[in-house]
Protein backbone atom coordinates (compact mmCIF):
# COMPACT_ATOMS: atom_id res chain seq x y z
CA UNK A 1 0.00 0.00 0.00
CA UNK A 2 1.34 3.42 -0.83
CA UNK A 3 0.30 6.99 -0.24
CA UNK A 4 -0.04 9.57 -3.01
CA UNK A 5 -0.01 13.33 -3.06
CA UNK A 6 -3.80 13.51 -3.39
CA UNK A 7 -4.12 11.39 -0.22
CA UNK A 8 -1.87 13.80 1.62
CA UNK A 9 -3.88 16.81 0.47
CA UNK A 10 -7.00 15.15 1.92
CA UNK A 11 -5.21 14.24 5.15
CA UNK A 12 -3.88 17.81 5.50
CA UNK A 13 -7.48 19.03 5.36
CA UNK A 14 -8.52 16.53 8.05
CA UNK A 15 -5.51 17.50 10.19
CA UNK A 16 -6.16 21.26 9.72
CA UNK A 17 -2.64 21.83 8.44
CA UNK A 18 -1.62 24.34 5.79
CA UNK A 19 1.26 22.87 3.82
CA UNK A 20 3.36 24.68 1.24
CA UNK A 21 4.10 23.13 -2.14
CA UNK A 22 7.68 22.13 -1.16
CA UNK A 23 6.32 20.66 2.09
CA UNK A 24 3.79 18.53 0.19
CA UNK A 25 6.46 17.24 -2.18
CA UNK A 26 8.78 16.37 0.69
CA UNK A 27 6.03 14.82 2.83
CA UNK A 28 4.86 12.62 -0.03
CA UNK A 29 8.34 11.10 -0.37
CA UNK A 30 8.86 10.82 3.41
CA UNK A 31 5.48 9.24 4.09
CA UNK A 32 5.96 6.72 1.28
CA UNK A 33 9.33 5.70 2.74
CA UNK A 34 7.98 5.45 6.29
CA UNK A 35 4.89 3.45 5.30
CA UNK A 36 7.08 1.13 3.23
CA UNK A 37 9.14 0.48 6.35
CA UNK A 38 5.97 -0.16 8.36
CA UNK A 39 4.96 -2.87 5.85
CA UNK A 40 7.06 -5.27 7.96
CA UNK A 41 4.18 -5.84 10.35
CA UNK A 42 1.67 -6.72 7.62
CA UNK A 43 3.00 -10.27 7.29
CA UNK A 44 2.43 -11.10 10.98
CA UNK A 45 -0.38 -13.42 12.00
CA UNK A 46 -2.32 -11.33 14.51
CA UNK A 47 -5.44 -13.44 14.85
CA UNK A 48 -4.51 -14.41 18.42
CA UNK A 49 -3.46 -10.95 19.52
CA UNK A 50 -6.02 -8.66 21.10
CA UNK A 51 -5.13 -4.99 20.81
CA UNK A 52 -3.16 -3.63 23.76
CA UNK A 53 -5.10 -1.33 26.00
CA UNK A 54 -8.40 -3.17 25.73
CA UNK A 55 -8.16 -5.72 28.51
CA UNK A 56 -6.26 -5.71 31.79
CA UNK A 57 -4.48 -2.43 31.09
CA UNK A 58 -7.69 -0.50 30.74
CA UNK A 59 -7.70 2.72 32.75
CA UNK A 60 -9.63 2.41 35.99
CA UNK A 61 -12.95 4.21 36.08
CA UNK A 62 -13.86 6.45 38.96
CA UNK A 63 -17.24 7.48 40.19
CA UNK A 64 -18.79 10.24 38.11
CA UNK A 65 -19.36 12.77 40.85
CA UNK A 66 -19.05 16.52 40.94
CA UNK A 67 -16.22 17.46 43.28
CA UNK A 68 -15.17 20.65 44.92
CA UNK A 69 -11.97 21.14 42.92
CA UNK A 70 -11.42 24.66 41.79
CA UNK A 71 -8.85 26.19 39.48
CA UNK A 72 -5.70 27.46 41.15
CA UNK A 73 -6.31 30.74 39.41
CA UNK A 74 -9.65 32.05 38.19
CA UNK A 75 -9.99 32.00 34.38
CA UNK A 76 -9.93 35.77 34.03
CA UNK A 77 -6.36 35.72 35.32
CA UNK A 78 -5.33 33.29 32.59
CA UNK A 79 -6.99 35.15 29.74
CA UNK A 80 -5.38 37.90 27.69
CA UNK A 81 -8.84 39.49 27.59
CA UNK A 82 -11.99 38.75 29.61
CA UNK A 83 -15.38 40.40 29.66
CA UNK A 84 -18.62 39.54 31.45
CA UNK A 85 -17.60 35.96 32.07
CA UNK A 86 -16.30 35.27 28.57
CA UNK A 87 -12.87 35.05 26.94
CA UNK A 88 -12.52 37.80 24.34
CA UNK A 89 -10.88 36.67 21.11
CA UNK A 90 -9.46 38.71 18.24
CA UNK A 91 -12.08 39.41 15.59
CA UNK A 92 -11.91 37.46 12.34
CA UNK A 93 -12.07 39.47 9.09
CA UNK A 94 -14.74 37.05 7.82
CA UNK A 95 -17.10 38.23 10.54
CA UNK A 96 -16.96 41.77 9.17
CA UNK A 97 -17.65 40.47 5.69
CA UNK A 98 -20.68 38.60 7.01
CA UNK A 99 -21.79 41.64 8.99
CA UNK A 100 -21.89 39.86 12.33
CA UNK A 101 -21.94 42.03 15.39
CA UNK A 102 -19.12 40.63 17.52
CA UNK A 103 -16.99 43.04 19.50
CA UNK A 104 -13.23 43.65 18.96
Amino acid sequence: MTIERKDLERIAELARLRLSEPELVRLTADCQAILAYFEAIRGLDLTQATPAGTLEQEAPMREDRVGSDSLERPPEQMAPAWREGYFVLPRLPAMDAEGEGAEE
Binding site: A15, D30, P51
Partner: protein
Amino acid sequence: MSRLTAGTIGELRDGLRSGRVRAADLLEAALEGIADSEAEQPALNAFISVAGERLAEQVDAVDRALGAGEELGSLAGIPVAIKDNICTRELPTTCGSRILEGYVSPYEAAVARKLRAAGALILGKTNLDEFSMGSSTENSGFGPTRNPWDRMRVPGGSSGGSAAAVAAGLVPVALGSDTGGSIRQPASFCGVVGLKPTYGRVSRYGLVAFASSLDQIGPLTRTVEDAALMLSVIAGVDRFDSTSADLPVPDFGERLDAGVDGLAVGVPREYFPDDLDDGIASLCRSAVERLAGMGAEVREISLPHTEYAIPAYYLVAMAEASSNLARYDGVRYGLRVPSASSTMAVYREARGAGFGAEVKRRIMLGTYSLSAGYYDEYYGRGQRVRRLIARDFDNVFAQGIDAVFTPTAPTVAFRLGERVDDPVEMYLSDVFTVTANLARLPAISIPIGRIEGLPVGGQLLARHFDETTLLQVASTLERSIAADPLDREP
Protein backbone atom coordinates in the same frame (compact mmCIF):
# COMPACT_ATOMS: atom_id res chain seq x y z
CA MET B 1 34.97 19.13 36.60
CA SER B 2 35.12 21.41 39.62
CA ARG B 3 31.76 23.14 39.43
CA LEU B 4 29.73 22.75 42.66
CA THR B 5 26.63 21.64 40.75
CA ALA B 6 28.54 18.74 39.20
CA GLY B 7 28.21 16.78 42.43
CA THR B 8 25.60 14.20 43.35
CA ILE B 9 22.56 15.00 45.47
CA GLY B 10 24.20 13.26 48.43
CA GLU B 11 27.40 15.30 48.09
CA LEU B 12 25.50 18.58 47.80
CA ARG B 13 23.21 17.70 50.69
CA ASP B 14 26.21 16.88 52.89
CA GLY B 15 27.79 20.19 51.93
CA LEU B 16 24.62 22.11 52.77
CA ARG B 17 24.04 20.36 56.10
CA SER B 18 27.62 20.74 57.24
CA GLY B 19 27.55 24.44 56.42
CA ARG B 20 30.42 24.17 53.91
CA VAL B 21 28.09 25.22 51.11
CA ARG B 22 25.06 27.50 51.06
CA ALA B 23 22.07 27.11 48.75
CA ALA B 24 22.99 30.56 47.46
CA ASP B 25 26.38 29.18 46.37
CA LEU B 26 24.68 26.35 44.49
CA LEU B 27 22.35 28.76 42.70
CA GLU B 28 25.24 31.03 41.79
CA ALA B 29 27.31 28.09 40.52
CA ALA B 30 24.40 26.81 38.44
CA LEU B 31 23.72 30.21 36.87
CA GLU B 32 27.42 30.74 36.14
CA GLY B 33 27.63 27.29 34.60
CA ILE B 34 24.69 27.97 32.31
CA ALA B 35 26.13 31.35 31.28
CA ASP B 36 29.52 29.74 30.54
CA SER B 37 27.90 26.93 28.54
CA GLU B 38 26.19 29.54 26.37
CA ALA B 39 29.28 31.74 25.99
CA GLU B 40 31.45 28.94 24.62
CA GLN B 41 30.88 28.56 20.88
CA PRO B 42 29.04 26.68 19.64
CA ALA B 43 26.69 27.19 22.59
CA LEU B 44 25.39 24.14 24.46
CA ASN B 45 21.79 25.49 24.33
CA ALA B 46 20.56 23.12 27.03
CA PHE B 47 17.99 25.55 28.47
CA ILE B 48 15.02 27.34 26.93
CA SER B 49 14.31 29.40 30.06
CA VAL B 50 16.12 29.99 33.35
CA ALA B 51 14.53 31.17 36.61
CA GLY B 52 17.68 32.90 37.88
CA GLU B 53 17.23 35.63 40.42
CA ARG B 54 13.57 34.79 40.95
CA LEU B 55 14.80 31.93 43.11
CA ALA B 56 16.66 34.24 45.51
CA GLU B 57 13.83 34.30 48.05
CA GLN B 58 13.55 30.50 48.15
CA VAL B 59 17.34 30.18 48.44
CA ASP B 60 17.43 32.61 51.36
CA ALA B 61 14.71 30.63 53.13
CA VAL B 62 16.68 27.37 52.70
CA ASP B 63 19.89 28.97 54.00
CA ARG B 64 18.09 30.48 56.99
CA ALA B 65 16.44 27.15 57.83
CA LEU B 66 19.77 25.31 57.52
CA GLY B 67 21.42 27.88 59.76
CA ALA B 68 18.67 27.33 62.34
CA GLY B 69 19.19 23.56 62.19
CA GLU B 70 15.66 22.86 60.90
CA GLU B 71 14.75 19.57 59.25
CA LEU B 72 14.34 20.14 55.51
CA GLY B 73 13.01 18.24 52.49
CA SER B 74 15.17 15.65 50.73
CA LEU B 75 16.00 18.07 47.89
CA ALA B 76 16.26 21.30 49.90
CA GLY B 77 18.46 23.78 48.05
CA ILE B 78 19.26 21.36 45.19
CA PRO B 79 19.02 22.96 41.72
CA VAL B 80 16.89 20.85 39.37
CA ALA B 81 16.19 21.31 35.66
CA ILE B 82 12.87 20.31 34.10
CA LYS B 83 12.16 19.38 30.51
CA ASP B 84 10.12 22.10 28.86
CA ASN B 85 7.09 19.89 28.23
CA ILE B 86 6.32 19.77 31.97
CA CYS B 87 4.10 22.60 33.14
CA THR B 88 5.41 25.13 35.64
CA ARG B 89 3.64 28.28 36.76
CA GLU B 90 6.61 30.61 37.05
CA LEU B 91 8.38 29.76 33.80
CA PRO B 92 6.95 29.41 30.28
CA THR B 93 6.24 25.92 28.90
CA THR B 94 7.05 25.82 25.18
CA CYS B 95 7.47 22.10 24.36
CA GLY B 96 10.25 23.32 22.06
CA SER B 97 7.57 24.61 19.70
CA ARG B 98 7.00 28.04 18.28
CA ILE B 99 3.27 27.34 18.50
CA LEU B 100 3.56 27.59 22.30
CA GLU B 101 6.14 30.37 22.49
CA GLY B 102 5.41 32.54 25.53
CA TYR B 103 2.75 30.18 26.96
CA VAL B 104 2.69 30.15 30.76
CA SER B 105 0.60 27.36 32.25
CA PRO B 106 -2.12 28.33 34.73
CA TYR B 107 -1.34 25.19 36.75
CA GLU B 108 1.77 23.20 37.58
CA ALA B 109 2.57 19.55 36.94
CA ALA B 110 2.30 17.07 39.81
CA VAL B 111 6.05 16.37 39.55
CA ALA B 112 6.92 20.09 39.72
CA ARG B 113 4.76 20.45 42.81
CA LYS B 114 6.44 17.43 44.44
CA LEU B 115 9.93 18.72 43.65
CA ARG B 116 9.11 22.09 45.18
CA ALA B 117 7.57 20.40 48.22
CA ALA B 118 10.87 18.50 48.68
CA GLY B 119 12.69 21.86 48.62
CA ALA B 120 14.22 21.66 45.13
CA LEU B 121 15.08 24.85 43.26
CA ILE B 122 13.45 24.62 39.84
CA LEU B 123 16.28 26.30 38.01
CA GLY B 124 15.03 26.24 34.45
CA LYS B 125 13.32 24.45 31.58
CA THR B 126 15.41 22.37 29.22
CA ASN B 127 15.41 22.07 25.45
CA LEU B 128 13.77 19.16 23.64
CA ASP B 129 12.65 17.99 20.24
CA GLU B 130 9.39 19.77 19.47
CA PHE B 131 6.63 18.06 21.51
CA SER B 132 9.25 15.34 22.25
CA MET B 133 9.15 14.14 18.64
CA GLY B 134 12.72 13.27 17.80
CA SER B 135 15.85 11.46 18.87
CA SER B 136 18.44 14.24 18.60
CA THR B 137 17.00 17.53 19.99
CA GLU B 138 17.58 18.98 16.51
CA ASN B 139 13.81 19.37 16.02
CA SER B 140 13.50 22.14 18.61
CA GLY B 141 12.00 25.45 17.55
CA PHE B 142 14.67 27.05 19.75
CA GLY B 143 17.74 25.59 18.03
CA PRO B 144 19.51 22.29 18.68
CA THR B 145 21.16 21.34 21.95
CA ARG B 146 24.72 20.07 21.55
CA ASN B 147 26.48 17.17 23.21
CA PRO B 148 28.86 18.31 26.01
CA TRP B 149 31.34 15.57 25.04
CA ASP B 150 31.61 16.82 21.46
CA ARG B 151 29.67 19.90 20.48
CA MET B 152 29.51 18.86 16.84
CA ARG B 153 27.36 15.92 17.89
CA VAL B 154 23.78 15.60 19.10
CA PRO B 155 22.94 14.92 22.76
CA GLY B 156 20.20 12.47 21.73
CA GLY B 157 16.57 13.19 22.31
CA SER B 158 14.04 14.13 22.96
CA SER B 159 15.21 15.00 26.51
CA GLY B 160 18.54 16.22 25.10
CA GLY B 161 18.58 19.48 27.08
CA SER B 162 18.13 17.65 30.39
CA ALA B 163 20.82 15.07 29.53
CA ALA B 164 23.29 17.74 28.37
CA ALA B 165 22.65 19.90 31.46
CA VAL B 166 23.44 17.00 33.82
CA ALA B 167 26.41 15.76 31.75
CA ALA B 168 27.92 19.26 31.64
CA GLY B 169 27.55 19.59 35.43
CA LEU B 170 25.12 22.54 35.19
CA VAL B 171 22.68 20.74 37.50
CA PRO B 172 23.05 17.50 39.47
CA VAL B 173 19.68 16.15 38.30
CA ALA B 174 16.96 16.88 35.76
CA LEU B 175 13.57 15.55 34.76
CA GLY B 176 12.81 14.27 31.30
CA SER B 177 9.97 12.39 29.67
CA ASP B 178 10.22 9.10 27.81
CA THR B 179 7.74 8.02 25.13
CA GLY B 180 10.02 5.71 23.13
CA GLY B 181 13.43 6.19 24.72
CA SER B 182 13.54 9.96 25.20
CA ILE B 183 15.19 9.71 28.62
CA ARG B 184 17.37 6.63 28.06
CA GLN B 185 18.82 7.36 24.60
CA PRO B 186 20.08 10.89 25.51
CA ALA B 187 21.38 9.49 28.81
CA SER B 188 23.38 6.99 26.75
CA PHE B 189 24.69 9.67 24.34
CA CYS B 190 25.66 12.04 27.19
CA GLY B 191 27.10 9.53 29.68
CA VAL B 192 24.53 9.96 32.45
CA VAL B 193 21.90 7.78 34.13
CA GLY B 194 18.35 7.92 32.70
CA LEU B 195 15.38 6.15 34.31
CA LYS B 196 11.98 5.53 32.73
CA PRO B 197 9.67 4.30 35.48
CA THR B 198 6.82 1.83 34.92
CA TYR B 199 3.88 3.43 33.12
CA GLY B 200 1.63 4.66 35.94
CA ARG B 201 4.38 4.98 38.56
CA VAL B 202 4.63 8.77 38.15
CA SER B 203 1.69 11.10 37.57
CA ARG B 204 1.55 12.58 34.07
CA TYR B 205 -0.63 15.45 35.27
CA GLY B 206 0.91 18.56 33.73
CA LEU B 207 3.08 16.66 31.25
CA VAL B 208 2.07 17.97 27.85
CA ALA B 209 0.77 14.87 26.07
CA PHE B 210 2.54 13.41 23.04
CA ALA B 211 1.39 9.75 23.10
CA SER B 212 -0.66 9.24 26.23
CA SER B 213 -0.40 5.44 26.47
CA LEU B 214 3.41 5.58 26.24
CA ASP B 215 4.55 8.83 27.95
CA GLN B 216 6.21 8.66 31.37
CA ILE B 217 8.26 11.18 33.38
CA GLY B 218 11.59 10.18 34.90
CA PRO B 219 14.94 11.52 36.14
CA LEU B 220 18.33 12.03 34.47
CA THR B 221 21.09 11.93 37.06
CA ARG B 222 24.81 11.33 37.57
CA THR B 223 24.31 8.19 39.67
CA VAL B 224 21.80 5.37 40.12
CA GLU B 225 21.44 6.38 43.76
CA ASP B 226 20.26 9.85 42.71
CA ALA B 227 17.81 8.28 40.25
CA ALA B 228 16.34 6.23 43.11
CA LEU B 229 16.04 9.31 45.30
CA MET B 230 14.40 11.38 42.54
CA LEU B 231 11.93 8.58 41.82
CA SER B 232 11.02 8.40 45.51
CA VAL B 233 10.17 12.12 45.37
CA ILE B 234 8.08 12.10 42.17
CA ALA B 235 6.32 8.69 42.34
CA GLY B 236 2.83 7.98 43.60
CA VAL B 237 -0.84 7.92 42.74
CA ASP B 238 -2.49 11.19 41.76
CA ARG B 239 -6.21 11.71 41.43
CA PHE B 240 -5.55 14.11 38.55
CA ASP B 241 -4.06 11.26 36.47
CA SER B 242 -6.39 8.27 36.29
CA THR B 243 -3.58 6.16 34.78
CA SER B 244 -1.34 6.66 37.82
CA ALA B 245 -1.11 3.46 39.84
CA ASP B 246 -2.59 3.26 43.33
CA LEU B 247 0.32 1.30 44.76
CA PRO B 248 2.61 1.93 47.73
CA VAL B 249 5.78 3.88 46.93
CA PRO B 250 8.68 1.85 48.34
CA ASP B 251 12.13 3.15 49.24
CA PHE B 252 13.58 2.63 45.77
CA GLY B 253 17.12 2.83 47.12
CA GLU B 254 16.71 0.15 49.80
CA ARG B 255 18.57 -2.57 47.84
CA LEU B 256 21.23 -0.52 46.04
CA ASP B 257 23.93 -2.30 48.07
CA ALA B 258 22.39 -5.76 47.89
CA GLY B 259 24.40 -7.02 44.89
CA VAL B 260 23.12 -9.38 42.20
CA ASP B 261 23.95 -12.73 43.71
CA GLY B 262 21.06 -15.08 42.95
CA LEU B 263 19.35 -12.80 40.45
CA ALA B 264 18.75 -13.96 36.87
CA VAL B 265 19.68 -11.53 34.10
CA GLY B 266 18.36 -12.23 30.60
CA VAL B 267 20.27 -11.18 27.49
CA PRO B 268 17.91 -11.19 24.49
CA ARG B 269 19.60 -12.35 21.29
CA GLU B 270 17.40 -10.07 19.15
CA TYR B 271 19.09 -7.01 20.68
CA PHE B 272 22.53 -8.15 19.50
CA PRO B 273 22.13 -8.42 15.71
CA ASP B 274 25.10 -9.31 13.53
CA ASP B 275 25.42 -5.72 12.32
CA LEU B 276 25.54 -4.18 15.82
CA ASP B 277 28.51 -1.83 16.21
CA ASP B 278 31.50 -3.92 17.38
CA GLY B 279 32.48 -1.45 20.10
CA ILE B 280 28.98 -1.37 21.59
CA ALA B 281 28.65 -5.15 21.43
CA SER B 282 32.00 -5.51 23.20
CA LEU B 283 31.11 -3.06 26.00
CA CYS B 284 27.78 -4.88 26.48
CA ARG B 285 29.53 -8.24 26.69
CA SER B 286 31.88 -6.79 29.27
CA ALA B 287 28.94 -5.45 31.34
CA VAL B 288 27.21 -8.84 31.23
CA GLU B 289 30.44 -10.55 32.31
CA ARG B 290 30.69 -8.16 35.26
CA LEU B 291 27.16 -9.10 36.37
CA ALA B 292 27.98 -12.80 36.00
CA GLY B 293 31.22 -12.28 37.92
CA MET B 294 29.26 -10.79 40.81
CA GLY B 295 26.95 -13.78 41.08
CA ALA B 296 24.12 -13.10 38.65
CA GLU B 297 22.86 -16.03 36.63
CA VAL B 298 23.12 -14.81 33.02
CA ARG B 299 20.80 -16.51 30.51
CA GLU B 300 20.35 -15.96 26.80
CA ILE B 301 16.69 -15.29 26.13
CA SER B 302 14.48 -14.55 23.14
CA LEU B 303 12.02 -11.71 22.62
CA PRO B 304 10.84 -12.85 19.19
CA HIS B 305 8.68 -9.89 18.15
CA THR B 306 11.42 -7.29 18.66
CA GLU B 307 11.85 -6.71 14.92
CA TYR B 308 8.28 -5.36 14.73
CA ALA B 309 8.72 -2.91 17.59
CA ILE B 310 9.64 0.20 15.60
CA PRO B 311 6.68 0.05 13.19
CA ALA B 312 4.27 -0.80 16.03
CA TYR B 313 5.64 1.99 18.20
CA TYR B 314 5.48 4.68 15.52
CA LEU B 315 1.97 3.66 14.40
CA VAL B 316 0.66 3.94 17.95
CA ALA B 317 2.65 7.05 18.86
CA MET B 318 1.79 8.97 15.68
CA ALA B 319 -1.92 8.21 15.97
CA GLU B 320 -2.03 9.36 19.59
CA ALA B 321 0.05 12.43 18.73
CA SER B 322 -2.26 13.51 15.92
CA SER B 323 -5.17 13.37 18.36
CA ASN B 324 -3.34 15.07 21.26
CA LEU B 325 -2.01 17.89 19.09
CA ALA B 326 -5.45 18.76 17.68
CA ARG B 327 -5.84 21.20 20.59
CA TYR B 328 -3.21 23.58 19.15
CA ASP B 329 -5.60 25.46 16.94
CA GLY B 330 -4.39 29.04 17.06
CA VAL B 331 -7.27 30.01 19.35
CA ARG B 332 -6.66 28.47 22.76
CA TYR B 333 -2.85 28.51 22.78
CA GLY B 334 0.01 30.65 21.61
CA LEU B 335 0.59 31.47 17.99
CA ARG B 336 -2.20 33.12 16.03
CA VAL B 337 -1.99 34.17 12.42
CA PRO B 338 -3.76 37.55 12.18
CA SER B 339 -4.48 37.48 8.44
CA ALA B 340 -6.64 34.36 8.56
CA SER B 341 -10.12 35.11 7.25
CA SER B 342 -12.21 32.23 8.58
CA THR B 343 -12.25 29.93 11.59
CA MET B 344 -10.90 27.04 9.52
CA ALA B 345 -8.19 29.31 8.12
CA VAL B 346 -7.18 30.33 11.67
CA TYR B 347 -6.62 26.65 12.49
CA ARG B 348 -4.79 25.78 9.29
CA GLU B 349 -2.58 28.86 9.20
CA ALA B 350 -1.59 28.72 12.88
CA ARG B 351 -0.78 25.01 12.72
CA GLY B 352 1.02 25.37 9.39
CA ALA B 353 3.17 28.22 10.70
CA GLY B 354 3.62 26.97 14.28
CA PHE B 355 4.58 23.30 13.87
CA GLY B 356 7.96 22.11 12.59
CA ALA B 357 8.59 19.51 9.90
CA GLU B 358 8.78 16.39 12.12
CA VAL B 359 5.62 17.27 14.03
CA LYS B 360 3.76 17.83 10.75
CA ARG B 361 5.04 14.51 9.41
CA ARG B 362 3.76 12.65 12.47
CA ILE B 363 0.42 14.46 12.56
CA MET B 364 -0.08 13.59 8.89
CA LEU B 365 0.81 9.91 9.30
CA GLY B 366 -1.18 9.67 12.54
CA THR B 367 -4.25 11.23 10.95
CA TYR B 368 -3.85 8.89 7.98
CA SER B 369 -3.59 5.78 10.17
CA LEU B 370 -6.72 6.77 12.11
CA SER B 371 -8.77 7.76 9.05
CA ALA B 372 -11.70 5.76 7.71
CA GLY B 373 -10.58 2.62 5.91
CA TYR B 374 -7.08 2.57 7.37
CA TYR B 375 -7.69 2.25 11.12
CA ASP B 376 -7.58 -1.55 11.28
CA GLU B 377 -4.74 -1.71 8.78
CA TYR B 378 -2.45 0.60 10.72
CA TYR B 379 -3.40 1.74 14.24
CA GLY B 380 -5.31 -1.46 15.09
CA ARG B 381 -2.46 -3.60 13.78
CA GLY B 382 0.09 -1.55 15.75
CA GLN B 383 -1.86 -2.12 18.97
CA ARG B 384 -2.04 -5.88 18.31
CA VAL B 385 1.70 -6.10 17.71
CA ARG B 386 2.17 -4.15 20.92
CA ARG B 387 0.33 -6.90 22.75
CA LEU B 388 2.70 -9.52 21.29
CA ILE B 389 5.75 -7.53 22.37
CA ALA B 390 4.38 -7.18 25.92
CA ARG B 391 3.68 -10.94 25.97
CA ASP B 392 7.30 -11.67 24.98
CA PHE B 393 8.44 -9.88 28.15
CA ASP B 394 5.73 -11.55 30.28
CA ASN B 395 7.05 -14.91 29.14
CA VAL B 396 10.69 -14.25 30.09
CA PHE B 397 9.76 -12.80 33.47
CA ALA B 398 7.53 -15.84 34.08
CA GLN B 399 10.61 -18.02 33.46
CA GLY B 400 12.33 -16.42 36.44
CA ILE B 401 14.28 -13.62 34.74
CA ASP B 402 14.65 -10.66 37.15
CA ALA B 403 16.21 -8.15 34.76
CA VAL B 404 16.94 -7.92 31.04
CA PHE B 405 20.16 -6.37 29.73
CA THR B 406 20.48 -4.74 26.27
CA PRO B 407 22.37 -1.91 24.59
CA THR B 408 20.51 1.40 25.03
CA ALA B 409 21.18 2.67 21.50
CA PRO B 410 22.72 1.09 18.40
CA THR B 411 25.34 3.87 18.03
CA VAL B 412 27.18 6.54 19.97
CA ALA B 413 26.07 10.17 19.55
CA PHE B 414 25.92 10.99 15.85
CA ARG B 415 26.87 14.28 14.19
CA LEU B 416 24.43 17.17 13.97
CA GLY B 417 22.61 17.07 10.65
CA GLU B 418 23.64 13.48 9.94
CA ARG B 419 20.12 12.02 10.07
CA VAL B 420 17.73 14.96 9.75
CA ASP B 421 16.96 14.17 6.10
CA ASP B 422 16.22 10.49 6.68
CA PRO B 423 13.30 10.00 9.10
CA VAL B 424 13.44 6.18 9.00
CA GLU B 425 17.14 6.23 9.93
CA MET B 426 16.33 8.63 12.79
CA TYR B 427 13.49 6.39 14.02
CA LEU B 428 15.91 3.43 14.16
CA SER B 429 17.85 5.28 16.91
CA ASP B 430 15.04 4.08 19.20
CA VAL B 431 15.15 0.43 18.18
CA PHE B 432 16.24 -0.87 21.62
CA THR B 433 14.20 1.51 23.76
CA VAL B 434 10.64 1.55 22.35
CA THR B 435 9.80 -1.93 23.65
CA ALA B 436 9.86 -0.79 27.30
CA ASN B 437 7.25 1.86 26.46
CA LEU B 438 5.11 -0.53 24.41
CA ALA B 439 5.18 -3.08 27.28
CA ARG B 440 4.95 -0.29 29.94
CA LEU B 441 8.01 -1.68 31.75
CA PRO B 442 10.54 0.21 33.90
CA ALA B 443 13.94 0.64 32.22
CA ILE B 444 17.19 2.45 32.93
CA SER B 445 20.27 3.42 30.95
CA ILE B 446 23.61 3.66 32.72
CA PRO B 447 27.04 4.48 31.29
CA ILE B 448 29.01 1.28 30.52
CA GLY B 449 32.08 2.74 28.83
CA ARG B 450 33.21 4.88 25.92
CA ILE B 451 34.15 4.50 22.28
CA GLU B 452 36.68 7.04 20.99
CA GLY B 453 35.80 9.28 23.93
CA LEU B 454 32.03 9.12 23.39
CA PRO B 455 29.78 7.58 26.07
CA VAL B 456 27.88 4.32 25.59
CA GLY B 457 24.87 3.29 27.67
CA GLY B 458 23.64 -0.13 28.69
CA GLN B 459 19.94 -0.68 29.31
CA LEU B 460 18.27 -2.76 32.02
CA LEU B 461 14.55 -3.60 32.15
CA ALA B 462 12.56 -5.24 34.96
CA ARG B 463 9.03 -6.35 35.83
CA HIS B 464 6.18 -3.86 36.12
CA PHE B 465 6.57 -1.71 39.23
CA ASP B 466 9.78 -3.49 40.25
CA GLU B 467 12.01 -0.44 40.00
CA THR B 468 13.69 -1.55 43.24
CA THR B 469 15.23 -4.62 41.56
CA LEU B 470 15.98 -2.60 38.43
CA LEU B 471 17.92 -0.03 40.49
CA GLN B 472 19.62 -2.78 42.51
CA VAL B 473 21.07 -4.39 39.38
CA ALA B 474 21.93 -1.01 37.83
CA SER B 475 23.70 0.18 40.97
CA THR B 476 25.74 -3.01 41.23
CA LEU B 477 26.87 -2.71 37.62
CA GLU B 478 27.57 1.02 38.01
CA ARG B 479 29.88 0.43 40.97
CA SER B 480 31.76 -2.31 39.18
CA ILE B 481 32.36 -0.03 36.19
CA ALA B 482 33.27 2.92 38.44
CA ALA B 483 36.17 0.85 39.73
CA ASP B 484 37.69 1.51 36.28
CA PRO B 485 38.18 5.29 36.35
CA LEU B 486 36.77 7.36 33.52
CA ASP B 487 39.48 9.04 31.47
CA ARG B 488 37.89 12.45 31.02
CA GLU B 489 34.78 14.51 31.67
CA PRO B 490 33.03 16.94 29.34
